[in-house]
Amino acid sequence: MQPKLTAKARSSDGEVGKISKVIMDPISHEVSHVVVQESESQGQERCVPIGDVQEILSEEEIVLRCSTSEFGQFPILNRDQYVTTHEVEIAHLEDNIHVNPGEVLVPLPCLERDVPRRTFFTNMTHAIGALIALPFAFPVLKYLMKPMYKPYDNAWFNVGSAKKLTKENIGYQFKFNRGFKEAFMPEQQIEKNIWVVKATEEVKKAVYEGEDRKFYDDKGDVIWVNKANSPFIGFSGKCPHLGCGYKWRRTKNYPDGVFLCPCHLSIYDEAGKVIDGPAPRALDVLPLDVNAGGEIKIIDVEYKAGVKNQIRLL
């Protein structure tokens, strides 16, 4: 049973006053003191520890563990040292107090009485909300997906002259410009690069394993065949590990030179095979053609990095 505010407080020998306030302990969230206001008008308010409340007779009356004269020894409430529960934020502080004199009620408006289909209206609101949102889902998705999938570009690009390749089994970088058209933007020229190796018989064998290499378009039709005996082998400039740009470098361990990617330190030999590092597959061989004048042409094929098998992106 909880006493009400305004409940009478009695000592062992008579009434001393009424409960005017309650003090909560901020740590335990329990009532720590009741504040008893002395009977006479404008009487002093004294803090009585909850332990000195002997008995709660009813909601209207409590008994303190003291005499009337002892009651005068409880400290006087210094209001400045307290804040109300409205002015402080202590989680769950008010869970344990029901000091209000009964519940505070407000009458329901007439129209709200006996409404039988509250659940129906709740569900209806959600359903209409969903009906508003759903038609958006597909257009929004399609809107955002517009540039994501493009047909492969199988155009040939001139990258330079094969005369540059004076030594065998060494990587030569060729830079070329190609146009990219995106959305509404005017076509932009982007510089890309590939590596070409003039291969000896062993390297050719290592790359092609004696078989011609076929390249396909998105319908699965063959667009080009690299002959297994062609001496010029072009590698895509994109590292098949995670897509960085690798370089032909001579290092202490590989004085003849290797393809080295500075990002995650994948190392490939002149045939593009992985010698060291985390790369999952060999360098990607490009469709390459050399005409009678020694001009090298390639198709700018790009594959997804980081997977064992070649998955064409571009």
Partner: protein
């Protein structure tokens, strides 16, 4: 005399305005509620990290908005407009450098804040939801770093994004879609820049504001955890309110962070590398320092190959985040004292050392490559 007294007691114009608003909004109660939050066991410097994060974020918003006055998010203008901010606009270099170093400060502060919460055992019941929302905020902060990085469209920006998106591509099932969605096509270009820009300046700020609001709301709902030692009586004796002692510590910490970020902006202002192109030239691509440990991890042979890469880039970081999310539900022991939670303490030290070692070895490798 009587007249004079009356005028002295009468509210002035400002007080009248305050009273007008207060009557309608309840500002004074709200203010009291915000400031009168008991801090069990008293205010501490260790509690300042969260406030610092909020402070850094606000300044990132301010400097970010200012940068957008000149920045143009298109592949043919992004680089030039950023150079213009650095070299032509008065104090452009400072605002850009502040924004740049502010992002690093944010990451450092997130790690400090998470470590404090972890070591204090403050993720435990009843604060599980605060921890979960905090993890989501951590993700947003890292995403901010990743997306902001591309915007200057220089070589560093381009290659960090190329590799970062390739890593995301390795997520099972949705990876290819996610990578294409972010790139806005099969390869990085204008659509990538547009998408990263929108995500950086609209989507992530909205997400961060919403989640940070929820984070603070949940925090106030559960109340501060307080120190992990001490009897209720000891805690009560030392308890004070958020204002003024904790706010004082917070504001001193914020001022310190501000001074450090400003100094870094002065000492090491942002400079751009060459404009982005699919040929890195002599540049050795590398991510921002807070991703270096992951970058170095992926150099290991054991995380090579298709499966190894999935393990290193997706599975292990994913499992670690999932573990952190599950932590308050696995670790239900109410003991919060870190010195009585040996596994937690050792685990924290091992992870911090791991990140440190991998970061340092990435830096050493950098010297070796040049």
């Amino acid at each position: 005399m009587n007249n004079q007294q009356r005028t002295a007691n009468e509210p002035n114009a400002l007080e009248k305005v305050v009273d007008f608003v207060d009557e309608r909004v309840g500002l004074k109660t709200l203010q009291a509620k915000m400031l009168n939050e008991p801090v069990p066991g008293g205010s501490r410097w260790a509690y300042a990290f969260g406030s610092c994060l909020l402070f850094i974020f606000i300044l990132q918003v301010v400097t970010g908005i200012l940068l957008m006055f000149y920045y143009v998010p298109s592949t043919d203008h992004a680089y030039d407009s950023t150079q213009y901010i650095i070299h032509e606009v008065e104090y452009g270099w400072f605002l850009l450098s502040y924004h740049f170093w502010g992002s690093s400060a944010m990451v450092v502060m997130v790690f400090a804040h998470m470590s404090q919460v972890f070591l204090w055992g403050a993720y435990k019941k009843p604060r599980e939801l605060i921890w979960l929302v905090g993890l989501a905020l951590f993700g947003i902060v890292m995403a901010f770093g990743f997306t902001g990085y591309l915007l200057p469209w220089d070589q560093r920006a381009y290659w960090a994004t190329v590799v970062g998106v390739e890593i995301m591509d390795k997520t099972p099932i949705v990876g290819d879609f996610m990578a294409r969605f972010l790139k806005g096509g099969p390869t990085p270009g204008q659509m990538t820049l547009s998408r990263f820009f929108v995500i950086h300046v609209m989507v992530l700020p909205a997400g961060l504001m919403g989640l940070a609001g929820l984070h603070i709301f949940l925090f106030r709902k559960a109340g501060p955890a307080g120190p992990f030692r001490g009897t209720p009586e000891e805690l009560k004796a030392k308890t004070d309110y958020f204002f003024p002692r904790q706010i004082w510590k917070d504001i001193v910490a914020m001022a310190t962070v501000f001074l450090i970020v400003c100094s870094l902006a002065f000492i090491e202002p942002v400079t751009l590398l060459e404009q982005a192109t699919p040929d890195p030239g002599d540049y050795h691509p590398e991510p921002e320092w807070y991703f270096l440990f992951l970058f170095q991890l992926l150099r290991l042979k054991m995380f090579g190959g298709e499966f190894g890469q999935f393990l290193g880039a997706i599975a292990i970081p994913g499992a670690f985040m999932a573990f952190l999310a599950a932590l308050p539900f696995i670790d239900t022991n109410p003991q919060r004292d870190i010195f009585k939670r040996p596994i937690a303490l050792v685990g924290w030290i091992v992870i911090m050392l791991g990140i440190l070692i991998f970061t340092v070895s990435a830096i050493i490798n950098r010297e070796f490559l040049h």
